[in-house]
Symmetry: C3
Subunit: 348 residues, 3 copies
Amino acid sequence: MSRAQAGPGFRLDELARQLAVEHVGDGGVVVRQVASLGSAGPGDIAFVVDGKRRAELGRTAASAVIVPPAERDATALPRLVAANPYACYARVAALLNPPEVFAPGAHPTAVVHPSARVAASASVGPHAVVGADAELGEDVVVMAGTSVGARVRIGAGSRLHPRVVVYPGCTLGARVVVHSGAVIGADGFGMADDGGRWIKIPQIGSVVIGDDVEIGACTTIDRGSLDDTVIEDGAKLDNQIQIGHNCRIGAHTAIAGCAGLAGSVRVGRHCRIGGAAMISGHIDIADGVTISGGTVISGSIDQPGVYTGVFPARPHREWTRNAAQVGHLRELVRRVRDLEHRQAGKGE
Amino acid sequence: MSRAQAGPGFRLDELARQLAVEHVGDGGVVVRQVASLGSAGPGDIAFVVDGKRRAELGRTAASAVIVPPAERDATALPRLVAANPYACYARVAALLNPPEVFAPGAHPTAVVHPSARVAASASVGPHAVVGADAELGEDVVVMAGTSVGARVRIGAGSRLHPRVVVYPGCTLGARVVVHSGAVIGADGFGMADDGGRWIKIPQIGSVVIGDDVEIGACTTIDRGSLDDTVIEDGAKLDNQIQIGHNCRIGAHTAIAGCAGLAGSVRVGRHCRIGGAAMISGHIDIADGVTISGGTVISGSIDQPGVYTGVFPARPHREWTRNAAQVGHLRELVRRVRDLEHRQAGKGE
Amino acid sequence: MSRAQAGPGFRLDELARQLAVEHVGDGGVVVRQVASLGSAGPGDIAFVVDGKRRAELGRTAASAVIVPPAERDATALPRLVAANPYACYARVAALLNPPEVFAPGAHPTAVVHPSARVAASASVGPHAVVGADAELGEDVVVMAGTSVGARVRIGAGSRLHPRVVVYPGCTLGARVVVHSGAVIGADGFGMADDGGRWIKIPQIGSVVIGDDVEIGACTTIDRGSLDDTVIEDGAKLDNQIQIGHNCRIGAHTAIAGCAGLAGSVRVGRHCRIGGAAMISGHIDIADGVTISGGTVISGSIDQPGVYTGVFPARPHREWTRNAAQVGHLRELVRRVRDLEHRQAGKGE
């Protein structure tokens, strides 16, 4: 186990104060790290979201726990009482594990164009490149080997991990996190068929990313062909996602790894797109839609709800015997109809 | 909207001359950027491919339009008349948005091996690396942080965006574009099972890429195990595509994002492979085949046409009720056969 | 053909000695490269695994071949006789194609933190970055532009190709190979829903990779949320694979390209996961399981065997006619049951 080293920690009453939640029991207990109920030890704080894990709660060696109001008295441990214990846990974890601090200024090996406007508090790592007329806001961190193209604007507090590429002209909001290998603003896949040969269509739109967006490792977001590709505030994209040109991802939508969106897809707000889901081009997805992992979406969805299109895998022989029949389904339906007609005829 | 800034533009008659198409109306009107009919304003040129959008054509604020011969008189705007308006539009867009110009020579932070042969007009960006005996042709651009391995040859006019990796010994033709994060020539996935342990098989083939190929962001093309992996002239590969060792992609074939080809797949010329389509190993795909997005191809295809294998997603509860029956299809077919036999028996 | 250049080669009897297998015929013949039966020429060694290719074996121009004991006398060519000819071939190929040798020491453009412990025999390439307190074992090669985070430990003989990123605190065993674009240790996709907004949960676990693991180009392995993500000894991961936080991949398991594992998946030892297979979160896969390419696994598998869930693609029109019926399967089953009941009633 190479869990991140814990810092000096916080007193429980101090956590309660900072997070504006109630604490019960010894407010002076110091917690240094988050943990699961089962693995927690002294100095750790764990959580439960409801009453289902009372037995584990009774056995935990944690120094403190986070519980919902209904479980206020389910333990004698020092505790925070929060309406949303998981969200409270996330905030506690963030306080106990602050992001790494980077020294302001550009590393001597970084190549920053003289026309770039870099805030004094921003940090530019070894071998990073910042292009002409780029703007880096306060506390922005551009880590080792990341390439920030010309005219890119990055809002305050954003962090680009090592080896990210942002193509020229893209815009990132505040507090955006981009993981290594992500590529923002590469050309969309636009071309015209000219008698069997492809003519590239210059992609003259850009990518505009809102505030508080997170973009996973090796995720690619293409620039727009004419208009922009847009990722709205608070959207969260996992690793290896492909976002085609001119897509718009609504605010606070979460997309799991390996999902792919072809061009001009509009996904609403507060959607959840499962891993490896694939959405065809020019499709509209309403607000509040959940798409199951691995599902292919080839038509627009105008109602919230859960949508699915995958089959549970089976032992190979059993699967292939049944799957082969799908190719004869229409014929089977006809045979059943014939049977029904003939039976109906005899019934008279 | 952060659309690319327009340059000084072209007179319409000058565009017509350069593209060898007819112009009608005021040839002196200057167009500076392409746009859609709906968003176009003064200085913009838009296009229609047929007569379906005549109402929009009547309302557009574009300074000029591109129309097919059949729509020659459907507008009073200054216009180009082209047999293939979309291809004409692509060419106009390219003239109005020329690729960025890079200063020739190597950036002081680039590491170029003394034995590499770099054309005087080629540009090598900051922190790029060019290995021993590599060759960069005229006007080649190797952008920031890209790694060009030993003995790699890159033809005239090719452009490698930031943070591309080309492994040793690979060959790229002329006018190839490679987007950030792409990896060309990593080892194919070849190994022998030796009593439950895997022994790596050195991948001694290479990757050979023809002229006018485009390779998307984070796409990976593995080197061959014995022979080469080959991408023929004019093929276009979108982002996050995986091409296994010893594949051959035919000329002018287009592959959309997230598609995957296992080893030794041969795809014909002028094919269109949809996004997230997956092709099993050792499969041959004929010329002119279209594969729908998300489709799994597990057998060779010897006839042109469109091939599909995905199900439209449905609301979750409805889907699961029906999908579960697929596991009983063979049994259902048997039951229908029994009914038919018994009904036939009674009919006599 | 740009096949890797062959070295001075080995005498057949020397190969036999080094690999501890029998040789038959002229032990003095020198082989310089491996090849397939069909393409082999003088200086090449080819192989057969059984008697199925005797005709080709009779025609081959190879200087030597590798055969199984049962085919010991099927050729007059100088030969190695090996119980597992393919594994023997892999070992011969490795002897004939040794990995590139890198000069020890750090390139002048590399940025190695003074607190890093780098073995004298290790090589750090141009523009590579090695963070504080990182450890590189003997003969480790960190190629151009690779980023090794703080506190990362890399065991002896491991090789990181250009532009790999290893986040802080991760551990790699001995003889690990990581291909370009791979990202190890980015944050897992963990967040809490707080009234429609996502709160990031710090990912405080790490990634622990065993010995003899190979990781393909642009593959991403996320760090654990609390505990570690673990890849056990001898596992082989192809390109563009996504491994979510807290997964554990068993020893000697092979995963083909584009596969995706959501969080907390446990895959057993000696499994084979096909390309583009997708495994949902919190699933356990037993030892010795094979999953077909493109299959979605949404439930745990506790028995070894082959599991499948994909449909063979068909010509588009035929497919859509049949696929549409899947949405009515439950209704069809009901109709068949009605027919059976009514027929049974009449039979009495």
